[in-house]
Symmetry: C3
Subunit: 467 residues, 3 copies
């Protein structure tokens, strides 16, 4: 009763009819649209046996499933456990972190299968799907999970679903422009996933600026065990990132190379993150926020170039720089963004995704511009950049220019899209919580009554948090 | 001392000689039986190089290992981390959940290799094993993990080992009847694993009915962090379920299709679960019990049909329905089963496995009955349902009837087997705890003395649990 | 302030300039060395398309990536999540366990790529790397993670980095002697990883003996939730160990066989561990320390022989014995080592890695010596032991002798290397903590101020730990 009164004070967060309605109507829409449009691609269809002979594949193992399924599962873990648990660092928002991430991603992958399908797998009025579509849907949702990080703890589940609907749509448009119109390479998504997702999320959180957020400041920190839960997320993201960046690369050497480059970049990133985390703190102690996040910047920053001939030492350099930039960001930029630009970035996605994503786009542009037939071999050169058909006349330096254009387009889409979606989310109908109830699971979740309670202060709002 | 007195009051839970004796004797029996019967199959034997040429396989990569090992590892994670951590939601039974699941599964896979081996891989007096046997052993043990969910917190480790011994045996007989005698398809085990496992477990817990269980009611709930541990189990089950349902499907399109169908079904299930979880609670708040469990019903419910041409939209429909049924089950059926039918179902396996398992069997029967050569292609049709040899005359509608018969047989085996095994487990020699000590790790485990103790009330039995 | 004073009493643990300096200089050195030496191997290079035809590979899927990448990812999880979380059992050292393991492994894999590369992948002045190198680098670092277990909680991050630098170097030398000079088989690393790593770590901790360590005795235990975090580590190690032992075995039957043998050994090990854990405790209760550790001994003990024709029942026997030896070790040997030999082994690596590693080496020697052409087939025999070229005249019994020699060499390298490195780490310049501050994250980490604090006693050093 105390709880109810306390939460009900400022805003109506009652979800009982609104959330079910949105979930059920949207799922019904998915069923109808899947019924009209989605079918199995050749390699997943029961006609495969006949198709296979036509495709001149000698063995069942040449089914794309065996090239991509293990990577798909790794990516899947990154989206649901990786992002989900990374955000459990907040002391009283673990249910929301894992649970809402679960909800938005489960909706998002369905909508992404449709949106991306219309753009990329549409044939004779049907979207034909296979394992690569599943990976791409997970990728697309990854950009939503990133944006979620900026508004974590401050939004209702309905707002998150609305954001997912729009962001997946915009992601697919942006991806189409980059991959199909600009003919840009971005297998690990430095531009399409990270730059777009992060600046989109930052714009949204700017629009949703809450001047009184310091009222829930005591809940914005972590406790000992919540930091360990977050490390589960960190490590799964870190370990599986080589799979992420290589998941949709060309079969053979490109997948192999992407994994190696990413492995190297991430390893270097850990060392520079630790170095700067200790160096930038007066007592010289390591900060779990940096270890949980900045160690991953190396994966973001080779997203575009991992499948290119970046080389292992190139990866070490990129990883080293991105770890430094990201850690410095946590120490100096995040407070600045909040106090001066009114950008309240709960998880610091500006440091983990935005800046490293830009680095990734730039490194990709440079690596592409520097490509030579000598380094790639004649066949490898064609294959790596797909300089066939209308793109036959492209040179590496032109490709580099288009890559750079891809960054700009992603940024514009993110700012414009984020502004519009932020405006929609600002409408007072979505059931977000009052400032003093942010970062608090009790608003949308049944929370168990712990004897030695983590949620103690919800029942005793008068008691100060840190003695 | 306090602890000892408290626990020793009603029942003798002293394990020191009984548990070691059972473990060591049974392991010795495994060694003898493996020594007599189990050998490497052709693809794992050092003679492979010669066999390979005879089998007309052109490359090492056509070894079944490469088709199935990644899926095997995903299934393995589901059994040990998935089921193990899913059950850690209880505030004081985390060690028992993870630890006893570990124990029974480690024994069960050995016994399953033998039992399933005799039925399916027996040649010239030897059981020849390969990676597919490992997957099937894990599957078989999965049904024991399910049954464990019903009796979680109320049984001794010896009871669990005894149940595993019998349940694996009965599972293998039931599986043999379904797959070999009825020629039923059930790659993801809606019938053999879920329906059988769940109704077996429910029957056992009915026989073991404890009228005074409300004495440990304060320990049947969760605390904040135990709910997050349980989400680790949930997410790994959810993410890897596509691997579960496709792990033993035919190479190529069937595996590919199973994964896609399961992915779709699970995504839809999350949305309907969230919708009903909020709708069925007066305050409209989400309940972690539903999110932890009902979101998985979509995987269970396409277990039989995932490798068939269920189609993505068909999967969305099945997943949506099963999420609703499962959530409604948690809210209305579980209390009813307990109060009226005296079925005390700790984890609610009736909602997560029993009902969705039945749905899965029925959907499988319908999908099979509706199969046409047009949809599957001539070759695909034969391959999908194995209508060769003595089964050449089977039509889809006959196959549908046999599929339905498979459900009935699984149910009968579960009820009869569960009743017998329940009767055996009721004998007063197995060392189960008294009602007031259920759901309490301290009975069978050395528990660390936390300062701010989760196990506080064990040392202070007089203090009430919820202030 | 209280905290600072308390920690600063005895020793200078200020890391602010030392740690960054080491991290940044060493990472710079890695970049230079990678720039000079490391390039992509043929299968990861963009020239692959041309190479492939020369290598007579018909399909992209014959790229080694597809044979090894799924196993690589499993091994990767074992190193970072497996070892990292296994060590989180300490109540106040979770950040250090996961975080320092992350740091040393991230540095170690880079240095291992170089060291192992010079020995094994050096061609025309360049180290050519592919997925197998990544696995081997992870393996090498595994031996450092093992040694870390012995000194957990007692060393500074700089000491760990210094140890990593030397241990990776010595590991690579020892591995070269065993694999190339003695022509020994050790795919799962019973000798090179476990025996070497464990005795190295034990020697180091002996040299670093701290007579006053009982001053931090209250922090050497676990709390309820830290034991559950540790089980995450245990289970991932246990589940993925079949991938570990098969990751670099020959394609085809050898990989397949390694996985099966390891699966069997681990399953048996769980039962004998549980049996002895209960039997050796007066109250007959299970001890989480044993379940967390001794259940893994079965994987260590078949490390050498898993790819040989050990047979499933042979694996059960080896697994059973190693579970017993390891559990007995925790109960009797660890206290003995500490009180009599002054070997303070925080995680009990003597029981989990040293003794089972020796068993593994011996079982490998016996299995090799007992090999016959009858059991392996003529081709399989040659392939399994590589009896070609200068080794054409080797017989199984001679091979067995060389295998045994491999154990002795590994032990000598471990003792000698450990003594030297221990001496270096004893220098008073590395910033390790005073005895009363061991096993305490607050020394090197920013620790959140929990209300119901796990780190309570750091702020209140006067209050006793266990009331």
């Amino acid at each position: 009763m105390e709880r109810q009164r306390h939460q009900g004070m400022a805003k109506n967060t009652y979800m009982r009819w609104r959330l079910p309605l949105v979930c059920l109507l949207w799922e019904a829409a998915m069923i109808v649209l899947f019924g009209v449009f989605v079918r199995f691609g050749a390699e997943a269809d029961a006609h495969w046996e006949e198709e296979r002979r036509e495709m001149n594949l000698t063995s069942d193992i040449e089914n794309d499933f065996y090239f991509r399924y293990p990577s798909f599962q790794d990516v899947h873990v990154m989206i649901f456990v990786g992002f989900g648990f990374l955000m459990t660092f907040l002391k009283r928002y673990g249910f929301g972190a894992v649970g809402f991430n679960f909800l938005l991603a489960a909706f998002g992958i369905q909508w992404a299968l449709l949106m991306q399908g219309w753009f990329h797998s549409f044939k004779d009025g049907k979207i034909l799907i296979g394992v690569e579509n599943l990976i791409n849907a997970d990728f697309c949702v990854g950009s939503v999970c990133i944006a979620f990080g900026a508004i974590l703890g401050k939004t209702s589940p309905i707002q998150l679903l609305v954001m997912t609907l729009f962001q997946v749509t915009l992601f697919s448009v942006n991806e189409y422009i980059l991959l199909n119109l600009l003919h840009v390479k971005d297998a690990g998504g430095s531009m399409t996933i990270h730059t777009f997702g992060a600046y989109f999320g930052l714009t949204v959180t700017r629009i949703l600026y809450r001047p009184n957020l310091e009222q829930s400041k005591d809940k914005q920190g972590s406790v000992y065990h919540s930091d360990l839960f977050a490390m589960i997320g960190t490590l799964y993201l870190w370990m599986y990132w080589p799979s992420f960046n290589s998941a949709i690369s060309d079969h053979g050497d490109a997948q192999h190379r992407s994994a190696i480059n990413t492995y190297c970049s991430l390893a270097a990133c850990v060392l520079t993150t630790m170095a700067f985390s200790s160096m930038l703190q007066k007592k010289g102690k390591l900060d779990m926020v940096h270890i949980q996040n900045a160690t991953l910047a190396g994966g973001v920053a080779v997203g575009t170039s991992a499948e290119m001939m970046l080389t292992p030492y190139g990866s070490l350099i990129v990883g080293s720089i991105s770890g430094i930039v990201s850690t410095v960001g946590y120490v100096y930029f995040t407070p600045f963004l909040e106090s001066r630009l009114h950008i309240q970035d709960t998880c610091g996605i500006h440091n983990l995704h935005a800046m490293p994503g830009l680095i990734g786009g730039i490194v990709g542009a440079i690596t592409a511009a520097a490509a030579t037939e000598d380094v790639y071999g004649k066949e490898g050169f064609m294959k790596a950049f797909d300089f066939t058909g209308v793109y036959q006349t492209r040179t590496p330096s032109i490709q580099g220019g288009f890559q750079a254009a891809g960054i700009v387009v992603s940024l514009l889409m993110a700012f414009a899209g984020g502004a519009i979606v932020g405006g929609i989310l600002k409408l007072p109908i979505w059931g977000d919580a009052a400032a003093e109830n942010c970062f608090e699971d009790g608003v949308y979740w049944e929370v168990p009554e712990d004897e030695e309670s983590d949620v103690y202060h919800m029942h005793n709002p008068d008691k100060p948090a840190s003695p």
